[in-house]
Amino acid sequence: MGRAVAIIGTGQTKHGRRNDVSYPELVREAVIAALEDAGITFKDIEGVVHGTMPSMMEGISDTHLYFADAMGAVGKPVLKTETCGSTGQSIAHCGFYWVASGTADIILVVGSEKMFEGDGQATMTTVADPWFTKQFSAGAPMVFTMQSMEWIYRFKIPEDKARDAAAIISVSNHENALKNPYAHLRQKVTIEEVKNAMIITYPVRLMDVCPASDGACAIIYASEDKAKKICKKPAWIKGLSFRGEEFFYGESNKSIWPSATEAAKEAYSQAGIHDPLKELDVAEIYNPFTYQEMIFYECFGFCPRGQAPDYVVKGTFLMDGQLPCDPSGGVLCTNPIGATGLIRLAEAVLQVTGKAGEHQVDGAKLALSHAMGGIDQFNGITIVGSEL
């Protein structure tokens, strides 16, 4: 169905606190890196897709206007799509459909955030409606902790067991980040340190939570013909999907998270995947919170409901496990929100094209990338493979 579409280049900034560059310069850094990776120039780009978190994040609205020059978009068509935290996946999907439509052959997709120039948590409380929900909002941790507790109680998971598994996830993500030159937090942590870290919202502790980062990511899409001409080893889009639930948090069952479950199901059916645990080689899951990562394992069909902690303890999702998850160190170690979902895809591309360097999963051919957003409301998935 439709034209085949490939990713022929990816670029990331060094993520972290980037006082050395302005916001447009940060964007430029990722764009140039992607062009160099693809071996093409601005002249080859036919259109640009951009997205970030909402305006208040950095105090500028409609940032595609601000970054027109940085993205090399002057004189070119631009589209801007945004869906909160899942923006990275939404802009990735937009680039895909643009090329698939046949109206362009090479499209640049850019996601960015410079979180040290704003107040991320204050911004996030404005996602809630001003009348009913906002009074109860305390940024991201409140929502994601509620979801984690709902899951723990729904499946009668002993709190200690969930705690231990979450600590393993934190330790392994931090270990992976040490091998990723772009990662923001690059430090070794121990199980004890995670379990004794400051409580943010019980039972979530400091090392269960992602940082706020400055960073940008860019990827370049090409049609089948162009990709085969330009790129020795493109990554092919195998499946993609986006689903969202009700706005009011209490209206859906977050312990089995329908949007995550259905988005995965749709993407698997497009990619012809029946047993994701066996067929996927690697997954880049949007994991700003350790406990929540386990809910994703279940929604994505990596393990039965309520059993994610057992699989985590078994080591299923470690670098040397059956399905390595977030070999990049994930969102837990790097989170420039508007770029984060796109970084997941860029990392999945690096894996299936064998370019991930020290955090390469050997022989990875099929990878899942994911992002989540809204008030625990949206999930987007893109699956890439090394074979057309």
Binding site: G2, S55, D62, L65, D69, T81, V127, R243, G244, E246
Partner: protein, 378 residues
């Protein structure tokens, strides 16, 4: 490439609605679904356009927009501008992955701050914003340059207001409707020299929905689909000082759309146009850039009377953005009006001539930093 057709459309009025944003969204989207006889979960995809925090008081506006738009558990996404979402909706159908896409754009201007306060956030916080730059001040610079370079007169700019607000009297959805004279416009308060109050668009509510479909599906869903023949958009430099404000990127956006639609002589092939003119003079300037008249001849075009509703080349029979300005939605309102004119269903503001091909234009950013063009045909 697959053909994309407009099957049905629905629009809210521009005046302040008693409904809250979610209900307003729901009613318009329900109306368009009822018109084609589909349930929301029979749609393949929904694309929402809305603004983040500045135009609805909520950030990540898609979170709130989702329910009213009917997007629960459907393939859906959100764009920052209604022309973007329309073009993206067309692309999704052209890709072959979807047969029906509902495109909706959502703004409730009556519930938030003035446009100038909001558009000042387009400016970067370090250089431009401290200078007081916003959409109006940028437009004033552009108008002054236009008057000086091409000897366009204030009277010619004022005539656009007289025409468009006069047209709006016949449009039941328009926000501002009144008969005004050139003198009324020239004597209205100076907002930002040389712009006068009546030359600046208001701030309006506006929810608008269109159901797009692939060729076969469109023919199944309605008697006479209106075909999307072409679209294009283009971006200009961010800094005003890097740009010639009278030579922006609109010709590029238009050339993409014309090429796709196979149009070589726009003035001959196109029967009427809906132009996004938040400031009166911009209708004249954009007409030049779209190739409807020669460079610097925008003033003569309005003088000729051809762009009147009963003229040879009607522009903005709906009343345009001067009569109704739901910021993010304003581009899609242009498309809706073109579709109504092509169908002959515009009612009292139906133009005199037969409309086969129509052009809709949208813009956002300072002095037309980003332009989009869509061409529709019977």
């Amino acid at each position: 490439m697959r053909r994309v057709g407009i099957t049905q459309l629905a629009q809210s009025s521009g005046v302040e609605s008693k409904e809250n944003l979610m209900d307003l969204t729901y009613w318009v989207n329900k109306e368009v679904l009822d018109k084609v006889g589909l349930q929301r979960d029979e749609l393949d995809c929904i694309i929402i356009a809305s603004s983040d925090i500045f135009h609805s008081g909520l950030s990540c506006a898609n979170a709130f927009d989702w329910d009213g738009a009917g997007a629960f558990m459907l393939e859906a996404t959100r764009a920052e501008d209604s022309m973007f979402s329309f073009i993206y909706g067309c692309m999704r159908i052209m890709s072959g992955h979807f047969d029906t896409v509902l495109v909706t754009s959502i703004v409730k201007g009556s519930e938030n701050a003035e446009n100038d306060a909001l558009t000042s956030f387009f400016a970067d916080p370090f250089y431009l914003r401290p200078l007081g730059m916003n959409e109006t001040t940028a437009a004033a610079l552009q108008m002054r340059a236009y008057m000086q370079r091409y000897k366009i007169t204030e009277e010619q700019c004022a005539k656009v207001v007289v025409k468009n607000l006069g047209n709006a009297v016949f449009n039941p959805h328009a926000h501002i409707k009144k008969k005004v004279s050139v003198e009324d416009v020239l004597n209205s308060k100076v907002i930002c020299d040389p712009l006068k109050a009546l030359e600046c668009a208001p701030k309006s509510d506006g929810v608008v929905s269109i159901i797009l479909a692939s060729e076969d599906k469109a023919k199944e869903l309605c008697d006479k689909p209106i075909w999307v023949k072409g679209f294009g958009s283009a971006m200009d430099h961010f800094n005003l000082g890097d740009r010639d404000l009278l030579n922006g990127q609109l010709p590029i956006a238009a050339s993409h759309a014309y090429k796709m639609a196979g149009i070589r002589q726009p003035r001959k092939r196109i029967d009427m146009a809906e132009i996004c003119e938040p400031y009166a003079f911009q209708e004249l300037l954009w007409c030049e850039k779209l190739g409807f008249c020669d460079e610097g001849e925008g003033g003569k075009l309005i003088d000729s009377g051809e762009t009147q509703m009963d003229g040879a080349f009607p522009i903005n029979p709906s009343g345009g953005v001067l009569a109704m300005n739901p910021y993010v939605s304003r581009g899609m309102y242009r498309i809706v009006e073109c579709a109504l004119q092509i169908r002959g269903k515009a009612g009292e503001h139906q133009v005199d001539k037969k409309v086969k091909t129509a052009l809709a234009h949208g813009t956002h950013g300072f002095a037309g930093q980003c332009h989009s063009v869509v061409i529709l045909e019977r």
